[in-house]
């Protein structure tokens, strides 16, 4: 321990600048050991051709070259971007709409609403996937409901249909993430000064106007968080796809996360899997950076 500097006010302003790091040291150590080092190790592995058992061969950037050339890998990135619409855009719109409906007045039973909408977040994604596979099945609830309203013509095994599978998987993500977005926005709304609403109402604003002029501007921070979290969920999606379709039919729902897993664990191409994971990580960082940039420049 170094000796404390003389005659410093208790505000902490002039303390040794390193002192703060001592407090974060335990967290930093854990973070370095379990997040940063494995990430660097992954980047290192991505430079080898390695089957997971025998001695690896140094191939430099060869794995990255292969990623750019492989049509299945490119297709998987496209699928992930489609999923962003369902995991991010739709839940945010739905979350905003629900917030507009629920936030205006205090109603009895708010806790119950929140509980219900938050429920999909609490259930493990694997259980969500298994349940939806069953719902989407040939005799599943979705087809039964369609049949009940006379739409027998459109029923099918949704997850096995080349044109419907990706949308079906995307809607599962919508179901999971809408509640999360709503919760974020509801908590954001609670920070808004009630007098603003009062003023808006005195000025004759209707519910829509009130939402657009008062609620929405105050939710910018929450919107940025919601976009970040849901976009990352879409790009790094794995569990839902793995459990519902395993990438099929054909490559219609294959996503990068699934390929990373397959390449590493069942196909014995650990280096290629690591390279794909690195590319995926950078893609996510880039998008998160853009989202943050965007939400800042507006303010």
């Amino acid at each position: 321990m170094r000796s404390r500097p003389r005659v410093q006010p208790a505000s902490g302003r002039g303390r040794s600048p390193y002192r703060g790091y001592v407090y974060v040291l335990p967290a930093l150590a854990v973070y370095l050991a379990f997040a940063v080092l494995p990430a660097l190790h992954t980047a290192y592995l991505s430079l080898f051709e390695w089957d997971g058992v025998t001695l690896g061969d140094w191939v430099g950037l060869g794995n990255y070259q292969e990623i750019l050339q492989d049509p299945i890998l490119r297709r998987s990135v496209f699928n992930a971007l489609v999923l962003v619409v369902f995991f991010s855009f739709v839940p945010i719109v739905l979350g905003l709409a629900m917030t507009g409906l629920l936030a205006r007045h205090r109603r009895p039973g708010m806790g119950a609403y929140r509980f219900l909408f938050m429920l999909p977040q609490v259930v493990p994604l694997v259980a969500v996937g298994v349940t939806w596979r069953w719902l989407y099945g040939d005799d599943g609830l979705v087809n039964q409901a369609l049949g009940a309203v006379g739409l027998d013509g459109v029923t099918r095994a949704w997850l096995g249909d080349f044109s419907a599978a990706l949308i079906a998987v995307g809607l599962v993500g919508t179901w999971v993430l809408s509640g999360l977005c709503m919760m974020l926005f509801l908590s954001g709304v609670q920070k808004v000064d009630p007098s603003l609403y009062e003023a808006a109402r005195i000025d004759g604003a209707g519910p829509v106007r009130e939402f657009v002029s008062v609620t929405l501007p105050h939710l910018r921070g929450e919107l940025a968080i919601a976009m970040t979290v849901t976009t990352v969920a879409a790009l790094a999606s794995f569990d839902i796809v793995y459990v519902t379709t395993n990438g099929g039919p054909g490559e219609q729902t294959t996503v990068p996360g699934l390929l990373v897993y397959r390449l590493a664990f069942s196909e014995g191409k650990v280096g290629l899997a690591a390279a794909l994971a690195v590319v995926l990580g950078f893609l996510i960082l880039l998008i998160v950076y853009l989202i943050n940039r965007l939400s800042r420049s507006e303010s």
Binding site: P38, L45, D138, A157, A236, S266, G268, G281, V288, N292
Partner: protein, 447 residues
């Protein structure tokens, strides 16, 4: 101040997204190849004599836990000084971790044979059992064809003959189940003798307003169907060469085109259940048991379930050949066990593998719905189980048990599954499909 705040927020966002991706990326903490440390001897010792001391063996496996428990109990009764600790894992868990498990210092003494074993055998992580094959005389009790699947394509360094890296307990085989009542309604009175006759029966079932063939192509039934057709169109030697990675072998042959075209043609004619691509193998089996289709493509592992659900109403036949005089050829594998190079008790582990070939073990295997290696040693099965045993006997007699096509390369399973889904959806030309398989094959076998 605002600027640092922004930077911090950016760092925090970046960090949190990295943290979210990491579970995918952080696979294992090994430097590539450092696992290639000395695994131990490459072959079992020449002696089969089991030491009299107390021995505990660990057995890791993924199939048929009830059967394994019964086998262990019977074995321990015969060998009171040997205790076997079973460690059950689900199949996907088992296969994913197989390489890590078998190359670690805590590798189990005995492990179920699975796709990754070929690489492990090449690096000496599992023992060559060829000396025991001779010493114990396994060729008497086990059809050689099912041991030929366990050579990992290698020659034994000890005996100079074919290597052996596992001993089969239960054998498996794919084929067609049929619902007798529905078949009768469609005017079908006996199992087909030729492929053309089978096609006529599928057409008759369609004509009668029934779903002819149940396929669970969401996971593996699609590739079983394709392989069953390929078995009839392609000479088995060519097929074996391809699966074993023999130099110059190719799947891009007229026989491959014919089999793939049949899969498409049957789909165009509406022979499959409408949502074959969205139906898992277990679900297609359950639907067949309910009477949703006349025929079903699946393997003998579904027999127990179907016999319970449908009693005498279900029958089985291997996919018929192009001509009535053709050999019976069907794909199948075995539940087999290998011995780790790290075991301290290879003799005791060998004794357990030898026990698997005994009549007593055969009866346990048969009782659990698998095909015992030596069918003569067990009581005659009944109903659909008898159909399967008979089909298997014919295929073995014709030397016509071929392995599954996904053994050709580790990534082949995914290519086959998604490829057959595209065939069923009529979205790919047979030639392009075969080309995608061959690409994968060439990459793995580096040709």
């Amino acid at each position: 101040m605002d600027r640092t705040h922004r930077v911090r927020r950016r760092v925090a966002a970046a960090a949190s997204s990295v943290a979210l991706v990491l579970p995918l990326t952080a696979c294992d903490a090994l430097t590539p190849g450092s696992a290639a440390a000395e695994p131990g001897p490459r072959s079992v010792p020449s002696s089969t004599a089991v030491p009299g001391e107390d021995i505990t063996l660990r057995l890791q496996f993924a199939d048929a836990p009830l059967m394994v428990d019964a086998l262990i109990a019977a074995f321990e009764k015969d060998h009171p000084n040997i205790r076997i600790e079973p460690q059950y894992k689900t199949f996907s868990d088992y296969v994913q971790n197989l390489k890590l498990t078998m190359t670690s210092d805590t590798a189990p003494d005995i492990a179920q044979y699975a796709v990754g074993m070929t690489d492990l055998a090449a690096d000496g992580h599992i023992l060559d059992l060829a000396p025991y094959r001779e010493a114990y005389g396994w060729d008497e009790a086990v059809p050689p064809v099912s041991m030929d699947q366990l050579t990992a394509g290698r020659t034994s360094e000890t005996t100079g003959g074919r290597a052996l890296f596992g001993v089969p307990a239960g054998l498996s085989m794919t084929g067609i189940y049929y619902n007798k009542e529905l078949a009768e309604r469609a005017g079908i009175d006996s199992p087909p003798r030729t492929l053309a006759e089978f096609e006529d029966q599928l057409a008759a079932a369609k004509e009668a307003g029934l779903t002819p063939l149940g396929v669970g192509a969401l996971d593996s039934s699609g590739l079983h169907l394709w392989a069953a057709l390929l078995n009839q169109t392609m000479p088995t030697d060519d097929y074996w060469d391809w699966v074993n990675g023999a130099k110059g072998a190719t799947i891009e042959k007229p026989a491959g085109i014919t089999a793939s075209e049949l899969v498409i043609e049957w789909s165009r004619k509406g022979y499959y259940n409408e949502s074959a691509n969205g139906t898992a193998q277990v679900d297609s089996t359950a639907q067949f048991a309910k009477g949703d289709s006349v025929f079903l493509i699946n393997g003998n592992w579904a027999a127990g379930q179907l016999a319970t659900a449908m009693k005498d109403n279900v029958g089985f036949f291997p996919m018929p050949g192009v001509r009535a005089s053709a050999r019976t050829v069907a794909s199948g594998f075995s539940v087999s066990y290998a011995i780790s190079s790290r075991t301290e008790h290879p003799e005791a582990a060998g004794a357990f593998l030898d026990f698997l070939t005994s009549p007593e073990a055969g009866q346990i295997i048969s009782d659990n719905g698998f095909l015992p290696a030596n069918p003569k040693a067990v009581a005659k099965p009944e109903g659909v189980l008898a159909d399967i045993a008979e089909g298997h006997r014919r295929a073995v007699a014709d030397d016509g048990i071929t392995t599954f096509p996904d053994f050709a390369a580790p990534a082949m399973l995914d290519r086959l599954r998604s490829g057959v889904q595209k065939l069923i959806a009529d979205r790919v030309e047979p030639a392009d499909y075969l080309d995608s398989l061959q690409d994968e094959w060439e990459e793995h076998h580096a040709q």
